[in-house]
């Protein structure tokens, strides 16, 4: 069923352009239905999975490499699958109202559905090869979605940045996973992560851990790779809500949670994750409140929240319960917040906070939805946000050193400030009177549903507890234990901190204009094409841009040296390298047999004459001063070669060679009289130098051709072909059987190349035609 739901999504992706040409924007409802169906299916599995069951589906895939396409559904995967399909449903409906009849609707949907398929595959995959492919596919689809407005240079640059950062991280991840697979002899995550009982501290495991951590950090926008996420806000808002807050950026978090049962015991786990998380949470929170752009504000706060999740994972078992709740709460309220930002932008065509205000009286429905989302985001009781925040603070207070806890609280204040700031467009005094148009109902479904869900989370603590406990079991790698979730803990220190966070954040939100001015002064981000100033000079993004600039410089430099436009220089370099490598191998090789050749000296007269013709005609072709002489020499050479083939048991080759030779001569006669003279252009010195190189190369190849006979492999593929040609493939001509049966795939490729060569000739000769007639 998991396979089926992936397959259906995949099919929908492929069929999307066609369906959109029929249904237009209403395709969004269809996509929502498909997502909803798979959401409901995953939903129906909650009881089974939360009682400790696992679901595994397997399809053979690359069986020779020991890899299978295995899908596995446990608590962690289930929650992610629910988020992906559930929020996916809402996003699909939202897109109908947001993009309306955008001319490139089909491209948008193909990318979005590709993402949804890949993301679902990513969280369900048990096989690391499949995991990696899905991982990179999410990066690819994210690239297309960020660069959706590809007429804007900024969108193109940011799409490229996000892709390069996350895909590079993906490659590191691949190396890490393969190291693990190599060490532990399996491609299955289940096996890989439950292998060790002893503490895994050897160098290979540590290297694998660090590589996987780097992969996760790039994907989940951890410092210093966080810069791509705010820049990804070039994407249409449904994408920001879906990929860049609720799902894709959590892929790295998912992966860390996935490997936590095994690597959680690694001595580097806690220090590295805590450092990474706390720096990210602080940087994200600090930069968030300084932004003017509504979406960048939310993006930085997402960075901060992702850092928080990493902290909670870094705390190990103690943090797992808070991790689970924070994960759920954040996906709901941050997704909702983005959707609201999108509605505001859609209705007012404004996105900067200081240009907005007073919307509450004109957009009452939006105001309601916003209030719901903000309540969850700042963590007001009785929302899920409140419970998650309480749990986070409680863990922090109990197990973290007080300095770290203080930093955690600061990050929480930053995030809550961002949440409060969402109210500004509604209630602040507007700089000018705005006349927003009322949002289509499809736009409001998403944020309202997410806000309500976050609210409901606080009331239905029993089912929530079951889901949380299933996640906790996956993260701890233990059996499912029932987690009690309570809304009210009494007047505790945690509650006090919580109130403090809320109030401080509220006060900060009120002074936001000053904060934003301070932010302008700091200039932490540098727009494309401008020199960095302020904080921008030390921002990690500068490192990225410097790296890319260096890459370009190196590319240009090496092109100037290696690709200087002189064909003979390229050839000389290639040949010298070849001579060097082959000679070195010949010198170093140990020969299995003494260097005597039976029959080396037994030269047949006819063979000798043919060989002589071939050698002489080669030299004639080189020395000829007339084109016709060269062509004649080539003809003689080809026919002698054909005769040699015929004498040495290759009649098929002989026939083909004769025919091709005939046709070649025909073509050359056709073409050469339209070609320039057979001129001598090089200087004598150049010719002498080339002759020397050619002689060396010829001698080496001759030696190579001779020495090859010393290596004969006892088990030859040919023996199989010769034995099975008639019995299995019903053919008496073994060569033909190889071509059309045993190795037919190769032949298929070869006739395709032949067809392409013909197409190329047509194109080359037709271009001239068109130009001349103009």
């Amino acid at each position: 069923m998991m396979t089926v739901s992936l397959a259906i999504l995949g099919l929908l992706t492929i069929a999307a352009p066609w369906l959109i040409s029929h249904f237009g924007r209403r395709f969004g409802y269809l996509a929502a239905l498909v997502s909803l169906a798979s959401f409901l299916w995953f939903f129906s599995l909650i009881p089974r999975i939360t009682s400790g069951d696992e679901r595994i589906e397997e399809l053979p895939f690359l069986p020779t490499l020991g890899s299978a396409f295995t899908l596995r559904l446990d608590g962690l995967a289930l929650v992610f699958a629910l988020l992906i399909t559930g929020i996916g449903t809402l996003i699909a409906i939202y897109t109908v109202g947001y993009l309306e009849d955008h001319p490139r609707l089909a491209r948008f949907w193909v990318s979005l559905l590709l993402f949804q398929t890949a993301m679902l595959g990513l969280v369900l995959a048990d096989d690391i090869v499949a995991l990696f492919i899905f991982w990179e596919l999410t990066s690819v689809s994210s690239f297309f979605l960020i660069g959706f407005a590809d007429e804007r240079p900024q969108a193109r640059a940011n799409a490229q940045q996000a892709f390069i950062v996350t895909a590079a991280g993906g490659l590191l991840l691949l190396v890490g996973l393969l190291l693990l697979a190599e060490q532990r002899g399996s491609f299955s995550l289940r096996t890989l992560l439950s292998a060790g009982t002893a503490q895994p501290t050897d160098a290979l495991t540590t290297a694998a851990f660090l590589l996987i951590l780097l992969g996760a950090a790039t994907k989940s926008a951890q410092f210093p790779f966080h810069f791509w996420l705010p820049n990804a806000m070039e994407a249409p808002t449904p994408v920001s809500a879906y990929l860049h807050s609720a799902t894709m950026v959590k892929a790295g978090i998912y992966l860390l949670a996935r490997i936590a049962p095994e690597f959680g015991r690694h001595p580097w786990w806690q220090p590295s994750l805590l450092t990474l998380g706390i720096v990210t949470a602080l940087v994200g929170a600090a930069l968030a409140v300084l932004q003017r752009d509504l979406k960048r504000l939310l993006a930085y706060s997402t960075v901060s929240a992702l850092g928080m999740l990493v902290i909670l994972l870094g705390l190990g078992e103690a943090g797992s319960k808070a991790f689970a709740m924070f994960l759920l709460a954040h996906a709901l309220y941050k997704g909702g917040a983005f959707l609201i930002a999108g509605i505001i932008e859609h209705s007012t065509e404004r996105r900067t906070l200081d240009a907005l205000g007073g919307l509450w009286c004109r957009l009452p429905t939006l105001t309601l939805a916003t209030l719901l989302v903000v309540a969850a985001a700042v963590g007001l009781p009785p929302t899920l946000g409140f419970i998650a925040k309480e749990a986070t603070l409680e863990v922090g207070l109990n197990v973290m050193p007080s300095l770290l806890f203080a930093l955690l609280v600061v990050a929480a204040v930053g995030q809550a400030t961002v949440a409060w700031l969402l109210l500004r467009p509604l209630f602040a005094r507007p700089p000018e009177i705005l006349y927003p148009h009322a949002p289509h109902w499809s736009l409001l479904v998403g944020p309202t549903a997410l806000g309500l869900l976050a609210l409901a989370g606080g009331f239905f603590s029993a089912p929530l507890g079951r889901i949380v406990s299933a996640i906790v079991a996956s993260v701890r790698g233990s059996a499912v234990l029932v987690v009690e979730i309570a809304l009210w803990h009494g007047f505790t220190l945690v509650l006090g901190t919580s109130v403090l966070v809320l109030v401080t954040a509220g006060l900060l939100a009120l002074t936001w204009p000053q904060l934003a001015q301070f932010g302008d002064h700091l200039a932490a981000t540098t727009p494309l094409g401008e020199p960095p100033r302020g904080l921008g000079r030390i921002a990690p993004e500068r490192g990225y841009r410097g790296l890319m600039a260096t890459l370009t410089r190196v590319a240009i430099m090496q092109t100037r040296i290696l690709q200087n436009g002189y064909l003979r220089v390229y050839i000389t370099i290639i040949i010298l390298t070849a001579i060097l490598l082959v000679s070195a191998s010949i010198v170093r090789a140990t020969f299995p047999r003494p260097a005597t050749f039976p029959g080396v000296t037994s030269v047949d007269v006819v063979d000798a004459i043919l060989a002589l013709i071939i050698i002489v005609s080669s030299f004639v072709a080189v020395r000829a001063t007339e084109r016709l002489a060269a062509i004649a020499a080539l003809g003689a050479l080809g026919f002698s070669l054909a005769l040699l083939y015929a004498r040495y048991g290759a009649p098929d080759l002989a026939i083909t060679q004769v025919l091709v030779d005939t046709l070649t001569v025909v073509f050359l006669v056709f073409a050469f009289y339209r070609l320039p003279r057979y001129a001598r252009l090089s200087s004598t010195a150049a010719r002498a130098r080339d002759a020397l190189l050619a002689t060396a190369f010829g001698l080496m190849m001759a030696g190579f051709a001779l020495l090859i006979h010393l290596f004969r492999y006892p088990e030859r593929t040919s023996v199989f072909f010769a034995e099975q040609a008639y019995l299995a493939a019903h053919g008496r001509n073994v060569v033909n059987v190889i071509l059309v049966d045993f190795r037919a795939l190769d032949t298929l490729g070869e006739i395709t190349v032949l067809g392409l060569a013909a197409l190329g000739v047509t194109a080359l000769l037709a271009i001239g035609k068109g130009a001349r007639s103009r």
Partner: protein
């Protein structure tokens, strides 16, 4: 190619070309058991048309061929793909050879298989590609 060659060449070509075409089919069909096959058959057929082009000019050669050479390329590659895909119907992997034996009079029977179809695809592609190139050059 504006001035046509001598009448001797034209007459000779008129007789030789069909014979060559026939021979190319013979080579193609016997290829599975004796030297020959799609590649050499296709090359022979191309030579036949090349000769015809020499003798009677490009336009006549095109008319005699009826279909355009690029169409032959497409047809050939498609045929090869189809012959390979037939294996899917028998739940085998792509390009697995399938054979049926058609009994003729007495003990003799003719074996037909998808590899033969594949070879016909090769034959058509080779003719198509060679003639595409030949005609383009002849036009210049």
């Amino acid at each position: 190619m504006t001035t046509l060659p001598s009448i001797i060449l034209r007459t000779a070509v008129r007789w030789i070309s069909p014979l060559l075409l026939l021979f190319s089919l013979f080579l193609l069909l016997r290829g599975h058991h004796e030297p020959g096959g799609g590649f050499s058959g296709g090359l022979i057929a191309s030579t036949a048309f090349a000769l015809f082009t020499f003798g009677h000019g490009l336009e006549t050669a095109r008319r005699i061929l009826r279909v355009s050479p690029p169409t032959l390329v497409v047809a050939g590659i498609t045929l090869a793909l189809v012959s390979g895909s037939l294996a899917f119907l028998a739940h085998k992997t792509f390009l697995t050879g399938l054979w049926i034996a058609i009994p003729l009079v007495g003990d003799t029977r003719v074996e037909l298989g998808t590899p033969l179809l594949f070879d016909v695809g090769v034959y058509l592609t080779v003719i198509g590609a060679t003639l595409t190139m030949l005609f383009e050059f002849a036009k210049e």
